[in-house]
Amino acid sequence: MTLRSPPPEPLTAGPPASRPRPPSRGYWSEVWRRYRQKRLGVLALLYVVALSLVALLSPAIAGTKPVLCRFEGRWQAPCLGYFVEKWEDRMPVARKLRKRYSPERLKEADPESWAIWPLVFQDPYRRVRANEWPGRPGNPSGMEGRPSRLNWLGTTPTGVDVFAQLVHGSRVALLVGFVSTGIAALIGITLGALAGYYGGWLDVLLSRAIEVVMCVPALVLILALLAVVDKTTIWHTMVVLGLTSWTGIARLMRAEFLKLREMEYVLAARALGAGQARVMFRHILPNALAPVLVPITFGIASAILIENALSFLGFGSPPPNASWGNLLKEGQRSLSMWWLVLFPGTAIFLTVLAYNLIGETLQEATDPRLREAAK
C-alpha cells in the first residue's frame, strides 16, 4: 500500500468546503474560555493570585528586617530570615547587629550603609518597642491594642501587630493548602489510576485501603501524632493532612479510569499496538484530570480550614509562627478585643470561599455535558 497524493476520484462527495474559521482551541483553552465568563470565579482566582503575591512579598510588606541593605560593602537581604532563619544567620549584618535592625543601629555599625525597609515597620512575631524606629512609640499591649494609625488592625495582648501577623500568616495558609493537597493529589491520582486501570485484585486491595483510610479521622490522627513528635512544625501537619485526605481524589480517579478504559479511543489505541504506559498517560490521564481538579481545589480549602482549626485549638504550628488560627485563639480570650477575631476570621473566610468558588467554577467549566455542547 502506498500513500501518494490520491488520483482524482470522481465518486467521492467530499464534505462541504470549510469556511475560514477561528483557530482550533484545545480542551484547556476551551475550559479557560468558559471559566472567564463566570465573574465570581475570576474574582476568586484574582483573590488567590493576590494572596499568593502577598505571601511571596510578605517580608517586604511588613517586617522589621531590611528588604535589602548595603552593609560593609556587600548586598544583603536580612528579610529572607522570615522565610528561612538560617539564611539570615549567615549574613554579616545580622551577626553584627544581633538581628536588631534600625536605621540608627545600621549607621552606627557602618556609616556607609543604607537600606530599603519594609512598607510597614512591624514584626509578626514580637512586639515592636518604643524608638525601635526613630521617634516611634512602642506597640500597646494588653487590652489596649485597638486599631490605630500605627497598628492598622490592632495588636494582640502581647503587643504583636495584627496586620503583620496576617500578612505573614498568608504564607502558612497557602503553603498548607498547596503542600498537603499536593501530597494528597499525588497519592490519590496514582493509586486511583492503578486501581481503575488494572482492576481485579489490585482494585479490590486498593479500594479496601481507601476505605480504611477514610475511616481514620484526620483531626484525631494529627493530634495523636503531634503528641508523639517532640518538636512539631507546620510540615508535620501538612504531611498528615496530605496522608489522610487523598481518598476522595483516589476514588474519583478510579471511577474515571474505569470509565475511560472502555472508551473506544482507548480500545483503538490498544488495537494500534500502544503499550500500557502510553494508553495510561497519553490517552486516559489527560481526560481524567479535569474532574479531579475540582476536589483538589476543595481539598486546598479544607486543608486551610483544618490547619486554622488546629491552631485555634492550640495544636497548630507553635509560635513563633504566624497562623491566622493563632490570632483567633488569642481573640477568643476576650471578646472585647474584636479586632483579633474579625480580621483573621475574615481572612480565613475569604480564602476558603475563594477556593470553593474556584472549584465550583472549574466544575462548571469542565462539565462533560458542556464539553460536547461546545462543538
Binding site: M1, L3, R4, S5, P6, E9, P10, L11, T12, A13, G14, P15, P16, S18, P23, S24, R25, G26, Y27, V204, M263, E264, Y265, L267, A268, A269, R270, A271, L272, G273, A274, G275, R278, R282, H283, P286, N287, R371, E372, A374, K375
Partner: protein
Amino acid sequence: MSVPLLEIENLRTYFHTDDGVVRAVDGVSLKIEEGQTLGVVGESGSGKTVTAYSVMRLLAPTARIESGRIAFLGKDLVGLPERELRQMRGRDISMIFQEPMTSLNPVYTVGWQVMEAILLHQKVSRAEARRRTIALFREVGIPDPETRVDAYPHQLSGGQKQRVMIAMALSCDPKLLIADEPSTALDVTIQAQILDILRQLRDQRGMSILFITHDLGVIAEIADHVAVMFQGRLVEYGPVLDIFSRPQHPYTKGLMACRPRLHTPYKILPTVADFMEVQSRGAELTIVEKQMPPERLAQLTTQGRGRLLHPRSRLAQIGHPWEEGQHAPDTTCVPEGQSPLLSVQELKVHFPIRRGLLMRTVGHVKAVDGISFDVYRGQTLGLVGESGCGKTTAGRAIVRLLEPTAGRILFDGQDLARLSGRQLRAMRRRMQIIFQDPYGSMNPRMTIEAALTEPMVIQGIGHSSRERRDRAAALLEEVGLEAAHLRRYPHEFSGGQRQRICIARALAVEPEFLICDESVSALDVSVQAQVLNLLKRLQEKHHLTYIFISHDLSVVKFMADMIAVMKDGRIVEFGPSDTIYAHPRTEYTRQLIAAVPKDDLEHIRQRQAARLAARAQRLSA
C-alpha cells in the same frame, strides 16, 4: 373535515446560544387530520424533534418560539399558559421517546407508573386504574399483563419497555400521539412489532400520530403523509405514495437514493450531493438541483468489483454450491488452493459471572460460543445479528482486544490467540478495527495530527516527524478531508468526518485487514452512504480484507460478499450474501429479513389499502 386535529402554521423556533441564534425550526407548516399519521423525516439537526417539542412546549430554556401558530382543534397552544398546557399534555397529546431504557423510573413498578398517569388526569379509584392498566398492557401486547404490572423496568426487555411507554401514552386516550424515533433504539424484529402495535392502535382507536424518524423505510411502513425536513425547513410535504413514487425535491430524491436497500441496483451509493448543491450566504440557504448525468448513473451501477465468493469447493462444503446462472454475472470465486487470510476456528469468548465476597465464578456468559469461518484476501465478510448476539465481542476477540476463552484465530497461518508482547504488536500493524461511535473513538485532547501520527510512532513507520506529518496529510486527503484539518481537535468535526478520520487512523499502519464494527450505524443516511463508498473504494485500492459487523441487514448486504448470521453467540447461517437474502434457510434469518422496513410502492399501496379498510370498519362499527 372541519377543523384539523393539529395545524402548525409557519412555526419558527430559534435557539439563543452563546454563539448566536440557531434557527432550529424555520417556517414550518404542517397539518394532521384525525386518525391520520404524519411522518416527519429528516437527518440529525433537521429540526424534526424540535418541531415536536414545540407542540408539547417541552423546549430547552434557550429555545423560544419566535412566531407561528400551533392550533390543536382550533386552540392555539403557543400562547397557552403553562397550567392549561400541563392539563393537555398526557390527556390530549402524549408522547413516546426514543430511549425506552431511560424513560421509565427504575424505582417504581411499571404498573404503578402507568396508574399514576391515569390517576393524574382521571377521577377513578386505584383498583379501577389498575384494571385499566392491565387492559392497556394487554392492548399493547405485553404477555401475561397481570403479573407484568408488578414488574420493575429492569425486569423487562427493551421492546417490552417501549410497549409500557406506549401504554402510558395511551392511558388517557389521547387524540394525538407524538412518537419521537420510538423504534430507533430497538432491534429490527422488535421495531417491526412496535410499528405493528402503533398501526393497530391507530386504526382501532382513531388516534392521530405524529411520527418522527430518520428512517424513510419506517416512514413507508406507517405514515399517511410525509414531511421531509432539511436544516429547519420543510422541503417536501405530501401523501406518502406521492412522495415515494414522485419525489419532487432534490433532497428527498437524494435521501431515497442514498439508502442501501435489500434490492439496491447500485454498486456505489449515490449521495445527496449528487442531487443538489447547498449554497449558503449567511443564514440564507439556497438549494440548487443538479441533474445526474447518465454516465454517473452508469458509474454507480457498474463501477467496483462484483461479489467475491469462497472457492467453489468450500462453497459446496458449506452447502451453497456454485450454480451457473444463479449469481450476478460479475460474481467471481477465490481460486482453488488459495488459503484464507483469516481463519477463525471454534472461537469462544466467555465472561465469568462473579458473585459474593470472594468473587467466586458462579457461571459464564457465553458471548461467543464456538464460531468458525474463513475470510479470503480481498473479501468482505458480513457479520450480522441483533443486539447481544456476540458479533461485537467476536470482532474484538479477533483483534485481541478481548482474550478468547478457546479456539484458534489463524491470521496468515499464525495463531493470534497465542501471540503476546512484541509479536502481537507487530501483528497489529496488519489488522485494524474501526468502531461505532464517532464521538467516543477519538481522544478529545489530541489534535488530528497527533491522532494520525501516533500509530506511526508506535509501529515505527516513517523516519522523522516531518515525514509522518506528510503521511498524515496524505491520509486525510485520501479519506476526503483536507490537510488543513491536521491542527484541529475532534470536537470540531461532524460525525461523518470523525469516522473518516478514524478510518485514516486505522490506515496509518497500512493494514491488510480491517474490522468495521458498526462503523456506519451512528451516522445519518446521507453520510453513511459516503462512508460506505469510501470503504469500498479503499478496499479496491489497497486490496483490503474486511469483516463488516452491523445490525443493519441492508448495509451488510450492500457491503458483504459472504454473510454470517449470528444468534446467541453462534453462527446460524453462513453463505454468499445474495443467496442468503434470496433464499434464507433458517427461520431466524427469514424473520430478520422480513422485519426490515420495506419502502417499495407495492408495499405502501398494500398498507394504505389495509388502512382504509380498517378505518371503514371502525367507522361502521
